[in-house]
């Protein structure tokens, strides 16, 4: 059994391109070209050059000594927090902006929730001198002011999504609408492994640099070719997809996916899609999503804006259904405490998204000889205010 995508654009039962006809030409153009473009050696060269000189890759694989001592195992943090713009998101936007250029697009749109993907997109647009429009829920604009400012500094236009719940899901709808309205000159940079095929696969391939590096870094540092566990948080699922990618079909490597339980899985304020979700269609993809019995998409909740999404990517739906990955749910409080613990044990302030992954160590006992790689997907600067308020610092 393969846990990767099949030729029809599905991971097991999940994936596909459930899109209105208006989007068909755009998505089809991408589908027909993405693999060809990505396998082009010039493309790879430019992509890797930018990852190295601009993003600052390879991101370190850091053996967290004090954290390992505390949890009596061997914990390696994959430091995506050190990337330019502060999270793994940039790996994907660098890839997609090069893709867009090769497709002859000169206008870029994107959706953003917390603003990390918006900043990463605005960044690569500035880098390439392309017009950039970011859709962001009106409510998110208010609560993520610093990232809005960053996008504006980078020359992007930020358009408030005023429909629905005025958050990420609606920003995504607005971005899709923009793409419908601008089918020729515009590329839509989706920020996670979600959306219609080929997006989940394309984004996963761009993020796969993460597990590619883990492979040789682990070898270099421990002599082992693979870890025993890989832990990553899952919003849409892109950092997890990147961290898992080269180990997907190597079942010796156990995968742990961490979702946001918000105020408690059954509190009504949660984003634990694997537990609460059912199969359905969201943003063009068949996957697991949180919905009413009637098929209306429900509003998720998490203290972490990046996990506050009612679906997961189709790869993750498949990893869940097949049992390939173990899914954990972590509450706001558990995540915040794990974040603070990393600060004080290792001097690293993690993004609250990543703090969810870190909380795994309180939930699950690893063996003293286990090698556990955790995707530290982003830095916590964007979350300072939330931390401050939470801990009353």
């Amino acid at each position: 059994m393969s846990y990767n995508i099949n030729t029809k654009g599905y991971y097991g039962d999940f994936g596909g391109a459930y899109i209105p006809e208006m989007l068909y030409p755009n998505v089809e153009e991408l589908r027909q070209n993405y693999l060809k473009i990505m396998s082009d050696s010039e493309f790879q060269k430019e992509f890797h050059q930018l990852l190295k000189d601009y993003v600052g890759r390879p991101s370190p694989l850091y053996f967290a000594k004090r954290l390992s001592e505390k949890y009596e195992t061997n914990i390696y943090l994959k430091r995506e927090d050190l990337n330019h713009t502060g999270a793994h998101k940039i790996n994907n936007t660098i890839g997609q902006i090069l893709m867009a250029k090769r497709l002859g697009k000169h206008r870029i749109i994107a959706e953003t929730g917390a603003g990390q993907h918006g900043v990463a997109t605005a960044t690569v647009c500035a880098l390439m001198g392309l017009e950039c429009i970011i859709y962001m829920g009106e409510i998110d604009i208010a609560r993520q002011a610093p990232n809005v400012a960053r996008m504006k500094m980078l020359g992007a236009t930020v358009i408030p999504a005023k429909s629905g719940s005025k958050t990420l899901k609606d920003a995504t709808n607005e971005a899709i609408r923009d793409w419908i309205n601008n089918p020729i000159n515009t590329h839509y940079i989706i920020g996670s492994v979600v959306g219609p095929h080929p997006y989940p696969d394309m984004v996963a391939r761009f993020q796969a640099i993460v597990s590619e590096e883990i492979q040789w870094q682990l070898k270099e540092q421990t002599g082992k070719t693979k870890p025993d566990y890989i832990i990553a948080c899952v919003g849409g699922g892109s950092n997890a997809a990147g961290a898992y990618y080269h180990f997907l079909d190597n079942t010796d490597v156990k995968l742990i996916a961490v979702e946001a339980a918000g105020k408690g899985i059954h509190s009504g304020e949660s984003a634990a899609t694997s537990v609460l979700g059912k199969e359905g269609i969201i943003h063009g993809s068949k996957t697991l999503l949180m919905q009413t019995t009637d098929g209306q998409i429900t509003e998720p909740y998490s203290i972490s804006a990046g996990l506050d999404y009612p679906g997961v990517g189709p790869m993750h739906a498949h990893l869940y259904k097949s049992g390939r990955a173990e899914f954990l749910s972590i509450t706001d409080n558990e995540a915040m405490n794990a974040g603070l613990e990393l600060c004080q044990l290792e001097g690293i302030i993690p993004a609250i998204e990543s703090s969810h992954a870190l909380a795994t160590f309180k939930k699950k006992q690893f063996k003293p000889n286990n090698v556990v790689v955790l995707s530290l997907s982003g830095r916590g600067d964007k979350d300072l205010e939330t931390y401050i308020n939470h801990f009353k610092l």
């Binding site: 596909g16 391109a17 459930y18 899109i19 209105p20 006809e21 208006m22 068909y24 030409p25 429909s163 629905g164 899901k169 609606d170 709808n173 899709i176 609408r177 419908i180 309205n181 601008n182 089918p183 020729i184 059912k278 199969e279 359905g280 269609i281 969201i282 943003h283 063009g284 919905q291 019995t293 009637d294 098929g295 209306q296 998409i297 429900t298």
Partner: protein, 254 residues
């Protein structure tokens, strides 16, 4: 013969209207349907509201949100439509996004449609291939015509393919846009309408998106069999309610 096919045989330009079920009030569905038939509308598209209608513009989205808040659900809609065929004879199409239908169960949904007298479905986010591979049989078993969309960007090859698997009409999206975002048609649209007409497809075309008054209706139907009005109608009922639908129809047809 399906009511849609029969209607398409009539020697006239067809006026089709889209409305969101459950809007402005939960129980307006039947009176809107009856009122529009009485005022000479040819085909109705009953919108099954969805939380995330990504092919729709702000007007239809807002009406959907309101309808959901009013309590509209798939079940409620079928209950409201239970006796619709006692009073209404024009073709009725349900237009909705795929997820609510999937949750209801595609087969159960089709069965229910047939029971209450629905003639066809428009599901913008159900791709042609998936329909063809997985659902066509079920739809046909329940005598439901599935309507596909084409846009100015759809290639001729794809149009011909869509034509080949269609057996009612083709929903011709007037321009690259979501609903409600056009005002008036220009040269580009006319060229597009002509181009499609010249393809001599087996299925007639009905134009949708951007039709709001006599001018746009006439432009759209110069080359096509009919036209669909959505946002403009929603706006009308938002403002004037559902009791004087004649006045709205008068702004479209003489």
């Amino acid at each position: 013969m399906n009511r849609i096919n029969k209607k398409l045989l009539e020697n006239k330009k067809l006026l089709s209207i889209y409305f969101t079920a459950g809007y402005p009030s939960l129980d307006n569905t039947v009176s809107i349907i009856e009122g529009l038939e009485k005022n000479g509308v040819d085909i109705l598209e009953i919108g099954l509201p969805f939380s995330d209608p990504l092919a729709d513009g702000p007007t239809i989205q807002a009406s959907s949100t309101q309808a959901l808040n009013n309590g509209m659900t798939t079940k409620v809609l079928f209950t409201q439509l239970k006796d619709i065929r006692k009073t209404v004879s024009i073709p009725l199409i349900i237009m909705g996004y795929f997820n609510p239908i999937l949750q209801y169960g595609v087969e159960a949904f089709c069965k229910k449609c047939q029971e209450v007298g629905i003639d066809g479905l428009i599901i913008p986010d159900l791709p042609v291939d998936v329909y063809h591979d997985e659902y066509q049989e079920i739809f046909e078993k329940h005598k439901l015509i599935n309507i596909f969309l084409i846009t100015p960007q759809t290639s001729e090859k794809r149009i011909r393919y869509i034509d080949s698997i269609s057996n009612g009409f083709i929903y011709m999206v007037s321009s690259s846009s979501v609903t409600g975002s056009q005002s008036g048609f220009g040269e580009a649209q006319t060229q597009y309408f002509k181009r499609i007409a010249n393809l001599k497809l087996k299925n007639p075309q009905i134009v949708g998106f951007g039709i709001s008054d006599k001018t746009t209706f006439n432009q759209a139907t110069q080359f096509a069999k009919g036209a669909i009005i959505g946002s403009a109608f929603i706006k009308y009922v938002s403002e004037f309610g559902v009791n004087n639908l004649k006045r709205f129809i008068n702004t479209i047809k003489d």
